[in-house]
Amino acid sequence: MTSVVWIIPLLPLAAFAAVTFWGARLPGRGAYVSIAAIVLAAIGGLAVLAQVTGGARADLTYTWVAAGGRPIVVGFIVDPLSAVMLAMVGCVASLITIYSVGYMAGDPHYPRFFAYLSLFQFSMLFLVLADNLLFIYAGWELVGLCSYLLIGFWFDRPAAARAALKAFIVTRVGDFSMMIGILMLYLRTGSLRFDDVFHALGTGALGGTFLTVAALLVFGGAVGKSAQVPLHVWLPDAMEGPTPVSALIHAATMVAAGVYLVARAYPLFLLSPDHEALTIVAWVGGITALLAATLAIVEDDLKRVLAYSTMSQLGYMMLGLGVLGYSAGMFHLLTHAVFKALLFLAAGSIIHAVATNDMKRMGGLARAMPITFWTFVAATLALTGIPPFAGFFSKDAILLAAYAHDRVLWVLGLAGAFLTSLYMGRLCWYAFAGDFRGGAVPGAAHGDGAAHRAAGPHESPAVMTVPLVILAVLAVGLGWIGAAAFGDPFGRLIRFAGLEAPAGNGGALALSVAAAAAGWAAAGALYRWRIVAPETLRRDLGALYTLLVRKYYVDDVYDWVFVRAGAGAVWIAGAIDRYVIDGLVNAAGWLAARLGLGLRYAQSGREETYLLLAALGVVVIVLARLAW
């Protein structure tokens, strides 16, 4: 399998082509083709993972183009890092694609949805297999495109169309930085392959401040893609896309690509002088982990809460990588992919049933939708880091690494863990407890769950609940592959030579569990037992509440600085072109015409004749001046 690993991404690409051109005429209106392709790709990914666990490695290189002195060599790499991602993306994407059959049923653009999903799957698998910056960048842009197309899938909704535009442009700012980083690395190393770039670190061709700057510019791409502060503003809006898209692209895979990139390019960050680049990665991650969690507390839109949660968890992964917890960060990427995909799919199941995203209009769903409820709870426990669910092992590993590296960052992480339990507890009690509070606002736009608005809350069909159950089993059990008690098989597979995980620390462990438990207790006190009413808190902490609701005014600042000021600059540029530069040209023309008017009585004829005469005159003068 490893020597033909390029087949894996090609399968969904073929499905994309088929569904695009024949769409509705294919089995399942194209859905079955997409599913077959991604399931085969997942099987391939698992086979590769099995082989890699057994020690297989491969690096398949090709010449992309031969231009200039050095041909550009690119290739696909099979190593533990890519194999784990391959298997994860394949499996999660398979389940989500199957789920979509139920979720998207009845949508007028049903085949187009599956075509986009297949294109995305191709792009993501391609990105994961890249052994070079060119393919990473190519996959990076393509997943960004798919994200754009799928956020804007219901393009006739203005909010969706705007969100798509915003997502593409904001992430493209990050890609701009990444491209400069790539150009810098190529300048010094003459290659785009990671191997060659890392080799240059050893020879001294790459190092010093130059390396730090280049690494951070590359990281800029990751900041955009993984919605880290300050390029995080697109992700909450991206929830305008259909919920399976949020699960696949904006939770499990694409947004994690930034973390994967840092892991893939890890030596660049690690070997920058004094770990400077790595330290910045850690701080960006830590700050995002905490800030995003604070925003989730005041959000009423179910999916947006999960979006902030994703941002926050991606922050944890960056934090983990930044504090030398290489395998901890990647482990969290894996477990998060599972439980966050599950949370979104379960949320989709809810939205499908109640036709609203507003958790305050839900309630009582535990009884109406038991499978959705129990799987959601399993994922929530995993997210909040309650032992022995999956997230406990991975988040704890990150916090342990932070504790060993930098206590301030550890405190940020700990505070984030507390808030995670608080906002998830709030969400659970609003959505599932009490009585149903009415669901959709009548007359709301079509979209998620549109086909089912008429009925009351009800459990979703099996095509949706079976993927939920499979993911729930993983959310419960997957953590053990990183448990020290079992010898930490994940950590032995995904490790960075020279970095060993810090020894277990009972005190730190107890504190992180305590923080999570305290968050749950606080949520219970506020939303279940109402020891303090949330309304009272909101009134008493009015300024803070407003600050959070306005998302720290970041969107407003960007609007003023970039959108409005940008529009002004654009207007000025347009005016300059029309009136100044073209004005000068026309003034010259006018002057010439005036002169011509004066002369017109001396001659008769057409403009062309004049020009011809002028041309001949020049020729004569030049010949005269130069020849003699």
Partner: protein
């Protein structure tokens, strides 16, 4: 197989002669004949491509050389290499598509088709001529039919646009003629033969005169590209020209200038060009960034594409300038090769992509929509999915999406140019972000949002329009995914040219 280049060159002109004999009112016969001629010419161009030995794509092949006016050293000298041949094929392809698209032209069909075919010969001639006099003749020949195409079949402000285009380019041509004469008069023996001139490089020892000649060429080619600040004829001409005219203006005429820089200035006046490469790069980058800003300000679809062309041709010239600046040093040989290969590929990519964009804009403006005002559209995707899909594909290709043709070109330019002009290249990348912004905004205004009820009956692309756009889409995707062979061919040619520079 000598003679095939002459065939490619003169077939359209011969077709124009044939059309002269067809009565004016036999519109169908006129159209079919023109299309047949264009198709035959495309076949001949492709055949010429098949004859060329890719392993030797760096040297001129299929050469034809016959003395024309021997007393002053003018010869009929044609030749093709990896630089000119793809441009010839591009021209032939676009003319075929333009003729097919122009089925809807109803006024003065005979004149229209004759002018189109004459333009065709002029354009091919510029790319094949290896004699400066011949080059100049074809350069001027290509100017006249376009003037009439804009002036007669153009939009409401066609008279203004045509005259502006004509005066601008004529002024540039005169400067170029002066430069040609300077070179000619200092060659011993006197000759206009480009190959001989490049081999002898008459002005190598006389830098002030070389600089003078450089500025002559610079004005001539710079206006044609166009380089900032000589670009203001472009939006008027592009927007007012009939659709086929816009396609050929953007697709081919804008390549003449950059081609001239690469084919003539770079090998003939390397030292002078190197001296002003920095300035050229600055103007190119201003064009890239400023073009992006002004494109964002446009509300007319065609004008937006026109300014986007200013930006994209800025990348081309950045690549050319980087190659000119780097040409001297062996250390930067890789940079020069990548930048120049990228620039050439960008010329082709821009021809294909912008050609497709103008055709889409034409379908809207010439067809039932009768407008190109972006603010009047909205939600078209739901109504015309094929047109929307093609337009979005072309816009994505234009904004440099990997997997499509434009990306390969831009990436090579940036990879090469960054090694020579790092700061300017970073600025040019700002232009890429702007490109993303204006195209996505155009997509948003055209295709997203609720469907404007005015367009509830807008027809999608018809069969002929699909056939016209399909080849362009195919090339975008195929070259984007598998650029190797085309890049190798171009690289061989530019390596040879850069070898001459050194």
């Amino acid at each position: 197989m000598t003679g095939v280049l002459s065939l490619v060159l003169w077939l359209p002109a011969a077709g124009a002669l044939v059309l002269l004999a067809v009565p004016r009112e036999r519109v169908a016969a006129l159209r079919v004949t023109a299309l047949a001629v264009a198709l035959l010419d495309l076949a001949a161009a492709v055949a010429a491509g098949a004859w060329i030995d890719p392993a030797r794509a760096g040297t001129l092949q299929l050469v034809e050389r016959v003395p024309w006016i021997p007393s002053i050293g003018i010869s009929y000298h044609l030749g093709a290499d990896g630089l000119s041949l793809p441009l010839v094929v591009l021209t032939a392809l676009l003319v075929v598509l333009c003729v097919a698209y122009s089925w809807r032209v109803e006024t003065r069909v005979k004149d229209y088709m004759i002018l189109l075919l004459l333009l065709h010969t002029g354009l091919i001639g510029v790319f094949l001529a290896q004699d400066l006099f011949l080059f100049y003749v074809f350069w001027e020949v290509s100017l006249v039919p376009m003037y009439f195409l804009i002036g007669i079949w153009g939009g409401p402000r066609r008279g203004y646009a045509a005259m502006k285009f004509f005066l601008y380019t004529l002024a540039g041509s005169l400067a170029m003629l002066l430069a040609i004469l300077v070179v000619y008069l200092h060659a011993t023996p006197r000759t206009f033969d480009l190959v001989e001139l490049v081999a002898r490089r008459p002005l190598a020892q006389n830098l002030p005169l070389a600089v003078l000649a450089f500025w002559g060429f610079f004005l001539g080619f710079g206006v044609k590209v166009p380089l900032f600040p000589f670009h203001t004829w472009l939006p008027d001409a592009y927007a007012e020209a009939p659709t086929a005219g816009s396609v050929l203006l953007a697709g081919v005429l804008s390549k003449l200038g950059a081609y001239g820089f690469i084919r003539i200035v770079l090998p003939l006046l390397p030292d002078a060009f190197r001296q002003f490469a920095g300035l050229t790069a600055v103007l190119a980058v201003i064009g890239a960034v400023y073009g992006g800003f002004v494109a964002l300000a446009q509300t007319d679809f065609k004008r937006m594409i026109a300014y986007s062309s200013v930006g994209h041709l800025g990348y081309v010239m950045l690549g050319v300038a980087a190659a000119a600046a780097a040409g001297g040093g062996a250390a930067l040989g890789d940079a020069a090769g990548k930048a120049l290969t990228g620039a050439t590929l960008q010329m082709l990519a821009h021809g294909i992509i912008t050609g497709a964009l103008f055709l889409v804009a034409g379908v809207l403006a010439d067809g039932q929509a009768r407008t190109g005002n972006l603010t009047e559209f909205g939600g078209l995707w739901a109504r015309v999915p094929v047109l929307s899909g093609v337009a979005v594909l072309a816009m994505l290709a234009s904004l440099g999406l990997p997997g499509l043709m434009g990306f390969v070109a831009e990436f090579l330019i940036f990879l090469g140019a960054y090694q020579v002009f790092p700061a300017l290249t970073v600025l040019a990348l700002v232009g890429v972000v702007l490109t993303v912004a204006y195209f996505l905004w155009a997509i948003y205004r055209l295709f997203f949002g609720p469907l404007n009820a005015r367009w509830a009956a807008l027809p999608d692309l018809d069969g002929r329009e699909r056939w016209v756009l399909a080849p362009l889409c195919g090339v975008m995707v195929v070259v984007g995914m598998y650029p190797g062979p085309l890049v190798a061919m171009i690289n061989a040619a530019v390596t040879n040219i850069l070898g001459l520079v050194r």
